[in-house]
Symmetry: C2
């Protein structure tokens, strides 16, 4: 799967435009479907409308239609809450509604940031650099953990990860960011932006997914991979890194 | 309380500017505190950081700092999820995190729309018209329900409300909107915008709060009023009507 998926992702990010927009849309649909399946297995049943609303949020956000985005959020809240109001099922409504809204927003909104990054002036080099740094970080964290790892379980949610792995990931993220910025002749400021978002926030995205998995009792990620496609597993780091990089670029200039 | 609170609200909306910004900030702090108290009584313990993050979201959104808003949302998600990650408490994390995020966003984001509405070209007349139509709708719904109400419990979440009350609210909302638009010499299009948001969506806000109250076993709203200040009770209609009116104005022109 990786053999096809990784080059395909790179190609789509390279192309940008409508191809990337559609590709991310498909990824999102798979993600939302995967989340619904996981929730259902664990007794949190949420409406399939969440997938439709999430797709709309993705589109409005990717195309930077701020007011439409607010309108869809509002409509989503009204539609999803009305399911409990008009069927008179208040019991547990707050919790179920909050999970539905959360699921409607975060994968869609965060994934849309990849498209927004791509639409920036240096968009092509930015998104390719980001994905390269994230892959490098993941790989470096894995090998550093395997070869040098002594201090296991510093973060108990992810008991097999080691301090050495995390640090190795960050160091290689920094080196990779330096290389990418030189290669694409980007502004030097991008080095720390890429290193922080790819190396630190990207690894946080992985922890975040571990938290959800532990809560939902999916201990073995390969179970997730085989039964549900594991699309979240592939994108967990990018999902947090992309909006972070976008915000940092927008708040601290460069573009 | 009403004797002071209603004219004070009107005055602040009339003034606008920093007074209204601060007034809404205080309202929000009371709301978030109220929600936390209600949750705690019912066993959903959420972090007090939600109040701080909600205040930041309100400020960024009211001042239309879109990128800052995204940054705060992202930071909020990272901060709130890290509480479960670093304390290694995954059990129920999805549900608690989703409720925290939901509480962080919706009152703050929606309340900020009142400030954004006030900042529009005809802002003063728009916010005063909106609040007048909402008060009129509430009053008309109450009296129409009391005097003419036959069909009780058409929406079982709110068993004492009648069809006649809802319809009376909508009819008076329309009449009030017509009056307001003439009085302030606003564009005729505002009539339907005000009537839909004040009369229909405003009444929905009330149902939405009923849903949460029923789920959280707060059946008697006066209990809420006395123990928790009942600030949500005062603002439930406006909380949904304000962002709706803002979106409609932005998407369909006029301003």
């Amino acid at each position: 799967v990786s053999m096809i998926f990784a080059p395909l992702t790179l190609l789509m990010f390279y192309w940008g435009s409508v191809q990337m927009f559609a590709f991310l849309g498909v990824i999102l649909a798979l993600m939302l479907n995967e989340l619904q399946t996981i929730y259902r297995d664990e007794g949190y049943k949420i409406s399939p409308l969440v997938t439709v609303l999430g797709m709309l949020i993705y589109m409005a956000s990717a195309l930077e239609q701020h007011f439409l985005l607010l309108g869809i959020f509002l409509m989503g809240l009204i539609v999803l809450s009305s399911l409990y109001i008009f069927s008179n099922q208040p019991s547990g409504a707050l919790s179920k509604l909050a999970i539905s809204i959360f699921t409607m927003i975060y994968p869609a909104y965060f994934l849309s940031m990849l498209y927004r990054l791509r639409a920036l002036e240096d968009g092509r080099s930015i998104v390719i650099s980001l994905i390269a740094v994230i892959w490098l970080t993941d790989t470096a964290a894995y090998f550093c953990g395997m070869l040098l790892g002594r201090r296991k379980g510093i973060i108990k949610i992810s008991p097999n990860k080691t301090l050495e792995g995390y640090l190795g990931g960050i160091i290689f993220a920094l080196a990779g960011s330096g290389f990418m910025v030189m290669f694409w002749q980007l502004d030097k400021q991008f080095i720390w932006m890429l290193a922080i978002t790819g190396g630190i926030i990207g690894q946080y995205g992985d922890l975040f997914e571990s938290l959800l998995k532990r809560d939902l009792q999916i201990k073995d990620s390969s179970r997730l991979l085989q039964e549900h496609g594991g699309i979240l597993d592939r994108f967990d780091s990018l999902l947090f890194a992309a909006p972070s990089l976008y915000v940092i670029i927008k708040l601290f200039g460069v573009n």
